[in-house]
Amino acid sequence: MLILQLLLNGLQTGMLYALTAAGFSLIFGMTRIFHAAHGATFVIAAYAYWHITSLAGLPWWVAALGATMAAVIFGAGLYLTVYRRIQRSEASFFTVFIAAFGAVVVVQNVISMIYGRGFVSSSTPLSRAKELIPGLYVAPLIWVSVAVAAVFFGAMALLLKRTRLGVAMRALADNPELVRVYGLDPGRISLMVFVIGSILVVPAAIIQVIATGANPAVGHHIVMISLAASIVGGIGSLSGAAIAGILIGVAETLALLVVGSQWTEAVSFLILFVFIIVRPAGIFGRAHAH
């Protein structure tokens, strides 16, 4: 029974990881930008949601909209003002990374100055676990998470396969120059990628505020897990990121059966390490890692 419980808990955690990883993977896969500030987008969305529900007392869907707007403004804004400028000059892969890291530091401290450094959370009955069958405690939030994740991933899949924008985005991932030849503007497509990637973060941020609680430093951890899940799942593959996120969440929780709780973080990264060595392209990635 403990195994089943841990499995379910891991699934919940995994959903959160899957959503953040999906946004990161999308951006990295399509634009080749190592958007290390994805964690900052997460923190901004989380605090925006919390502010609108807890401080302003408005209903949750208003807060969700507000959080989405905040996330998009930040993600797209960062792309336009920082990343695009850097890309125009002769910059190495890591120049963007350092700039993004700078952005994370700025965001973390601005939020600390406004909201204090403590922990914030929204209490809702959604996160309370109830005993379904003896020994198995499940919170309604898990069904909500699964549903939300399914909706978002479904929408993403539709977007990528069926719409012109989606096709353009996939073309961008394969060959930016070719996109230009066909009369499309890679810059505008990249901007859309950032917008969509940032939107994907919002449900995860909301779940975090409700289930786990947020604090200004929470972005760091999220970025690392997103990176790990993106690589394990295969860069640019949404389904890969999703499956990898769930895999990491479940592994992290199930690991408790085997190792002490202090090793659970190392377990996630051991998985990453093993994948890189054995199958660097990830679960669904294209095989051009060598």
Binding site: T81, V82, R85, I86, S89, E90, A91, S92, F93, F94, T95, V96, F97, I98, A99, F101, G102, A103, V104, V105, V106, Q108, N109, V110, S112, M113, H220, M224, L227, A228, I231, Q262, W263, E265, A266, S268, F269, L270, L272, F273, I276, I277, P280, A289, H290
Partner: protein, 295 residues
């Protein structure tokens, strides 16, 4: 006041050694490693254990730390270097995280999160190196030695091989260069020399614990190299100086409300990184090169 400035100088040199050695694999070999702080830490823990259990001799601690780091780095490099640059980043990230977990849990060797305290004052041939002054002299000397060594190395045929591999692996392969061996050797050299920074740190602060060797430090070291400018000799030293000096300089900015001082300093720090990357992405050293050319 002098001892305060000397204290900062010691940290500038320690960071300088780390930046210069990271630049060796990053700028010259094209290997992006996020695990440099882990090797810094391993070097420091080895030195701490030597100091606590064997004796305060730096001449004993340095080779010990260098060997341990070089060997461990080979363990990372051998499997991970088979994959392309971007994936190596993630592998090194994994190694860094795992290393921190080991540092935090292996209580008998690392003291766990409490760390190792009471490391003795170091000695060379019986001569005590106590305080910021003598340590600054030693650190400067080590920085000079290591930079000099790497400068010579990069101009040698080994260095040229490295740069050829960075620029095009397939071409190098066609020329019969032994890619894997060269890359692994460069990682070993980089890690082995970074260990020296760890030794200096352990014997100066005389207290080591996990917090100084985490991912944040790795990222900061990378920032030093990139802000200073990769692929050059002075770049990483410039970057290390700048980043090490920024917090103390910021602590003298007047009129900041005391409760927000820390956050404001960090915000300036972060903005500086962003602006530097946007306006001078090839690093500050490129500024001087351009000036020289225009003269």
């Amino acid at each position: 006041m002098t001892s305060y400035l000397l204290n900062i100088l010691v940290f500038v040199c320690i960071n300088g050694i780390l930046a210069v050695t990271l630049n060796f694999i990053l700028g010259y070999a094209g290997i992006f490693s996020l695990a440099h702080a882990a090797f810094f830490g391993i070097g420091a823990y080895v030195a701490a254990n030597v100091g606590l259990h064997v004796g305060p001799s730096i001449l004993l601690a340095m080779p010990a730390a260098m060997i341990v780091c070089a060997l461990l780095s080979v363990l990372l490099a051998l499997p991970a270097l088979r994959v392309r640059g971007e994936y190596f980043v993630a592998a090194s990230l994994g190694l860094q995280i795992i290393a921190v977990s080991v540092f935090a849990e292996w209580h008998s060797v690392t003291g766990g999160l409490g760390g190792l305290v009471g490391i003795p004052v170091p000695e060379i041939f019986g001569f005590r190196i106590a305080g910021a002054g003598p340590m600054a002299v030693l650190s400067l000397a080590m920085l000079a030695l290591i930079s000099g060594f790497l400068a010579v190395l990069t101009r040698s045929s080994f260095g040229r091989n490295l740069m050829a591999i960075r620029d095009s692996e397939s071409a190098s392969l066609a020329f019969g260069k032994r890619i894997a061996a060269t890359k692994v050797l460069s990682v070993a050299i980089s890690a082995g020399l970074a260990a020296i920074a760890g030794v200096l740190y352990a014997f100066y602060v005389r207290f080591v614990n996990t917090e100084s060797f985490m991912l944040d430090t790795s990222i900061l070291l990378m920032a030093m190299v990139i802000i200073g400018g990769t692929g050059s000799l002075w770049g990483p030293i410039l970057g290390a100086t700048l980043i090490t000096l920024l917090p103390p300089v910021l602590s003298y900015v007047p009129y900041l409300p005391p409760q927000q001082v820390g956050s404001i300093q960090q915000i300036i720090y972060g903005m500086a990184m962003i602006l530097l990357m946007v306006f001078q992405p090839s690093g500050l050293v490129a500024l001087f090169k351009r000036k020289e050319k225009s003269q």
